[in-house]
């Protein structure tokens, strides 16, 4: 682990820090895949090596320090991971996470066929097929579609932006969290847009856009009961840019004055507040309809994570009394 950083501050108004780290982890527990003829699909060994490196930056400012106090804080983390060794193997397909692990690459690299829309004449789903010389053509056979690297599930940069404002007895806190870059696979939506593969399952209202007539331009393939074209199978059809900004918390509090007569004789201090958490999230990708609690693998409701729940939006009213 290598870590170097600098803290700074000037004019008693601005402050911050910059840190760089580089951490090598060797002998990581890793499920080394085996040919299935061994009767096992993997064996766990201390066999993987990765490097995580990145910058962490904090910038802050005491903008106002008079009657109105306004403080602002911005932090940003740029973290990159790189696989160094996989027990001598390479390009391991991590089916349960829809990732590919390659030496020199990220362990969060999505790997799946690339969606090429819907054929307006037939209503068939289309994917890209890439031949040996790199020519890209479209195919309506899922088995011919080419698996491609589709980018990481982890963001390029993430962090928070906090503002605190005070005026007399009022305090206001606004906290925003942001993620820039990264992908998310929305399997919840995929399950609802099954095109008839699982006819007993619920459907999303977007299924009404399914292709019906030659010439129709739509991004939803034709519907058929027990659809066996794999049109709803894993592809970038359900992969989205995960860039987002989230209004994480707003808290407004009021500290009661200490000259409230009889009340102040019983209660030494009192503070009341209202607070809202997870108010809303804006995604850069307007087509994304999934939940906003993204995890590091970016696979909602897929395989290893069959159950996803939305983060609740909570409103709190509170009082803190000191006797």
């Amino acid at each position: 682990m290598f870590n170097i950083g600098v803290d700074f501050g000037f004019w008693e108004r601005f402050y911050g820090s910059v840190d760089y780290f580089n951490k090598t982890s060797d002998g990581l527990l890793y499920d080394v895949p085996l040919a299935l003829q061994n009767g096992l699909n993997s064996i766990t060994m201390n066999a993987a090596k990765t490097v995580n490196s990145g910058f962490e930056i904090v910038l802050g400012a005491n903008i106002l320090r008079s009657d109105v106090v306004w403080n602002m804080d911005l932090n940003a983390s740029f973290i990159k991971d790189e696989i160094k060794d996989l027990n001598g193997e390479n390009d391991i397909k991590m089916t349960d996470y829809q990732k590919i692990w390659s030496v020199g690459g990220s362990q969060y690299e999505f790997y799946m066929p690339t969606w090429a829309g819907v054929d307006p004449q037939t209503g068939d789903a289309l994917w890209y097929k890439v031949d040996d010389s790199g020519n890209r053509t479209k195919t309506n056979k899922y088995s011919e579609a080419t698996y491609e690297r589709q980018g990481r599930s982890t963001p390029l940069v993430y962090g928070g932006y906090t503002n605190t404002l005070s005026y007399k007895n009022f305090d206001l806190l606004i906290q925003l969290n942001y993620n820039i870059g990264g992908k998310v696979y929305d399997n919840l939506y995929a399950n609802l847009m099954h095109d008839g593969t699982t006819p007993n399952n619920n459907m999303h209202v977007d299924a009404l856009n399914a292709w019906t007539t030659p010439g129709q331009i739509t991004d939803v393939p034709k519907y058929s009961i027990n659809n066996s074209t794999s049109s709803s199978s894993l592809s970038t059809r359900y992969l989205y840019d995960a860039t987002n900004i989230k209004l994480k918390t707003i808290t407004l509090s009021y500290t009661l004055p200490k000259n409230l007569g009889l009340f102040s004789k019983v209660v030494a201090g009192a503070k009341v507040w209202v607070s809202a958490d997870n108010l809303c999230t804006w995604f850069a990708d307007k087509d994304y309809k999934g939940y906003d609690d993204l995890d590091i693998f970016g696979i909602h409701a897929y395989k290893m994570y069959p159950y996803s729940f939305p983060t609740p939006r909570t409103f709190t009213i509170g009082a803190n009394l000191t006797f």
């Binding site: 003829q37 061994n38 391991i92 009961i225 027990n226």
Partner: protein, 506 residues
Amino acid sequence: MKIKYFALAFLMLPFMSCSDDLLYQDPSTSLIDENIFESADNVNGVLNGAYSWTGHYYYMTLGQISLDVMGNDMKITDGTYGFSTYNWLMYAYAYQQYPRVVDGWWSAYSPYIWQTAYKAIDQCNQIIANEDKLPEGCEDILAQAYGLRGWNFLNLYHLFCTSYTNTGDEGQGLFLRLTPGDASGENVGRSNLKASMQRIIDDFTYAYEHCTDKSGNYFMNKKAAALLLARTHLDMGNYDLALDALSKVGSSYDGSDLMSAEEYQSGFNTINDEWLWGFNYTSETSNIYASIPSFYYIAKAKDDESGFGTPGYGTKVENKDYLSENAVEYLVGYGTVRANNSFVGIFGNGDCRKLFPFYVNEKDGYAVAKFSSKGSLGIADYPLCRMAEAYLIAAECYLMSSTQKDEAKAKDILNKLQEKRNGTISTDVTIDEIWKERRRELYGEGFALPDIKRLQKPLERTGEDHWCSVVSLPANSPRMMFPIPADELDYNKQADENDQNEYWRN
């Protein structure tokens, strides 16, 4: 004072560590390599593991039912007539399979089938590869291990290979793993069919020659090994060798070693004298919902008045609710396998094997009552080879052999089976007539697809009740099998993309 010591002890905690002696590293519920060979009982435990994997629902249920529903006669309901498939087996029926799971486990049954088959083979290999370390009294156990491995290889041949009758010695065969699994990466590549079939023949031959038949017909035994050897030779079109193997089975071909019509109808869930080998599902060894009867059986008859032989047998029921209120011996898990209408039509009316008690919709096909549970769902015996097959193999061999050809004998043997089943008596014996009889006799026992491939017939699914888009395939179609799982080819340095089955090769 006391508190001081206490605090001291607490502070010392980080400096203490657990000694290796305190950690039991051997599992308490399974055998480890070192003690496997301590006693014949332990070796038998390994063998039982092989049986257990062989009967596992990832393999036996998926594999055996797929071999039937990938043929012409049986199908999986499309799920819209009251019996949801939950995507079990329907994509085998629909010929929609990938080398790896692409979305939903049902998109690739083959990794489940393959890995479980090799778990069974691995346990057999643990015994066979350590032949010289076996303690006293393991002769029969070793012979069973050979026979069971042979069955698994033969089954993998049916599921994953082109037919020997089509591609001959040079066709793509099996991955003949003969040593226990390990992490060394020493894997075997794909053999050709010549080596593969020879391995199967050798395994069954060893079992035949060395089984002492101590264990009974729930386990591999002499006669079963001989019949399976005949099955293998028939698969290769070696009629004389098949007849030779049949002579070791020792059927009288007079019908006396076949079960009665009543036994055939009693639900096909209890082993009887005609079964040479059957799998015994108990509450411990069976996943009840994923058992074979769970997928086949719904009820014996739709109501009290509509039993076998009555006009109401094989007629329509209005809906599933009618069944839950009125059906006889109603015991349904999934209940999703159906017999195609045209298949039901090839049975004579009195034929005791015509166990298709009702249908819910004309387009859905008939419910099948052949395989039922013994009172509790999934508790049943399932046949892996029966004497009736010996009759069918013999008839075919006497018809087809160039050196022992005897059409009269072929006809006589076939007729004996037909008489016993109150079936339609063939007057003219042809290969198609025998095939038809095989379909009547053996449906649901994993022969439909292997027979189509062996006889080089096209897939011809007729009737509106076949809902999937694959209604026909030419003879010897490269689709009549599963893909080799990608996880075998990716991590096996002795194999590459060319070892994939043709249809799935990029």
